[in-house]
């Protein structure tokens, strides 16, 4: 009985630290790691909220990834679009595959000889259960690196702050349904409108949201800058 219990405890402990797909260890400490399936765009497209729709945004992810590695993954921008007449909404969370997702730096052995960096897990980053939402995910400033392995400037770093990350999404990763523009007109406006952003450093606006902290008051590049961002977004590999 005691042994059964011990086994159960060990099993649960193992379950707790293993992931659905174990990708093994990175080949080397090169950046980006060959495991990279997540990054923050190192540069914006630069035309405010006009990303050329989801297609343009995905292409930006794809070309930034292609510039640093040749893994031939398929990349998607973490962006929602809102419903229009004859056109259903698209939820950012449904575009990015199943994960888990790793960032651009090889994991470094920690002092307990563990690989410390937990990857991003779909249900954890979106807080699908109350406990997951309370506990949080490993989406930290140190995890949310660009494809070059660089930190994104946040609050307290040298200006300009670049931590406002375009998502157009609610905290659960789904499109807004309230009728207000939250996506710069589905990523086509560089003037009127508004966009919902998260903070890659998890600091700002009195909350910690990485994907849905606040809305901007416009969609021009200047408006984005005035709120503390430059139009960066998150990219996830779906394979």
């Amino acid at each position: 009985m005691k042994e059964t219990l011990t086994c159960l405890v060990l099993f649960l402990a193992a379950l707790n630290t293993s992931f659905a797909q174990d990708p093994g260890m990175p080949d080397s400490e090169d950046i980006p790691s060959n495991l990279m399936t997540f990054f923050v765009t190192s540069e914006p497209i630069g035309d405010g909220g006009n990303l050329g729709g989801l297609e343009g945004a995905d292409a930006h992810c794809q070309s930034l990834a292609a510039a640093v590695d040749n893994d031939d993954r398929t990349w998607r921008a973490y962006l929602s679009t809102q419903a229009r007449s004859g056109q259903a909404a698209v939820n950012a969370r449904d575009r990015i595959g199943e994960g888990p997702w790793y960032h651009s730096k090889a994991k470094i052995l920690d002092y307990l000889q563990r690989r410390l960096n937990r990857p991003l897990i779909q249900s954890e980053i979106h807080g699908d259960t109350l406990a997951e939402a309370q506990r949080g995910s490993n989406m930290t400033k140190e995890f949310a690196l660009t494809e070059h392995g660089e930190l994104v400037n946040g609050i307290g770093d040298p200006l300009p702050v670049r931590h406002d990350i375009l998502t157009g999404s609610q905290p659960d990763g789904r499109a807004f349904t309230d009728g207000e523009d939250r996506t710069c007109n589905n990523w086509t406006s560089n003037s009127e409108g508004s966009v919902q952003v998260g903070h890659s450093d998890r600091v700002g606006n009195g909350n910690m949201s990485w994907n849905s902290s606040h809305a901007t008051t416009g969609c021009s590049q200047e408006e984005l800058v005035s709120w503390g961002g430059v139009g960066l977004f998150y990219c996830f590999a779906i394979d």
């Binding site: 002092y111 410390l116 807080g127 109350l130 939402a133 309370q134 506990r135 905290p171 998890r202």
Partner: protein, 268 residues
Amino acid sequence: MTKTRIFIFPFLLAATASSLALAQHGMEGGTPMTFFVTSKPIGDGGNLGGLVGADGHCQALAENVSADGRTWHAYLSTQARPGTFAVNARDRIGTGPWYNFDGVTIARDVAHLHGDTIELARLGNNLTKRTGLTEKGQIVPGLNDYKNSEVAARAAAGARGNEFEYTVSTPYSNRHEVLTGSQLDGRAYPPDLDYTCDNWTNNQDPDPEQNGGRMGAFANKPNVQIGFPDRNGGGNGSWNSSHGTRGCSQMALAMTHGVGMYYCFAIN
């Protein structure tokens, strides 16, 4: 005119808030500090002298820097024992809102602090590395801070026989594991396994034969649940319930990057 007023009002609010935030603690008109992370531990591992001892430490640290006569409680739970009910950390800290050294709001109320609804939990509270300050206004050094320091170098070399000496003698060593003994919702754990170093009275390590080196709660193993004021660690960044420890000695706390600091809240 109406429109102007509507536009001015939020700006006034914002201006007031930021001037409050800039006002230093103790300055006349500054927002009074009602939250801090202890700048130093009691230093005897998980033995804090019970809740009474822990509260006394909060009170003493607060009175070192302020004379505004508040009552301070440690954010710690105790587990049920025969004849004694459990105590939930969330029930010990008053009603908020709580402000840090800089006058910045940590959380509006108990529900905001803990994320009692899934909507609140997904957004999170405002306890971050930049706001989770000690009563002296210090940031609590966290993961990968000062990674080129001598501490990191010696740790990497495996020279980890005297971690507590490192942490107490090295100002910027990682000390971000904060004792709570609490679940994510701020409530006590069930009594069967230890999450509170025996209700803050135990400074012992586990029997090395039985549980040596294991992290977390197991039968007959001294353990304490910790959180991270810098929200970075354990793969989740929970401020109050990320993971357990290797034991309850001061050394065991240091082995996983803590020194036995904890949160203090003013209840009035």
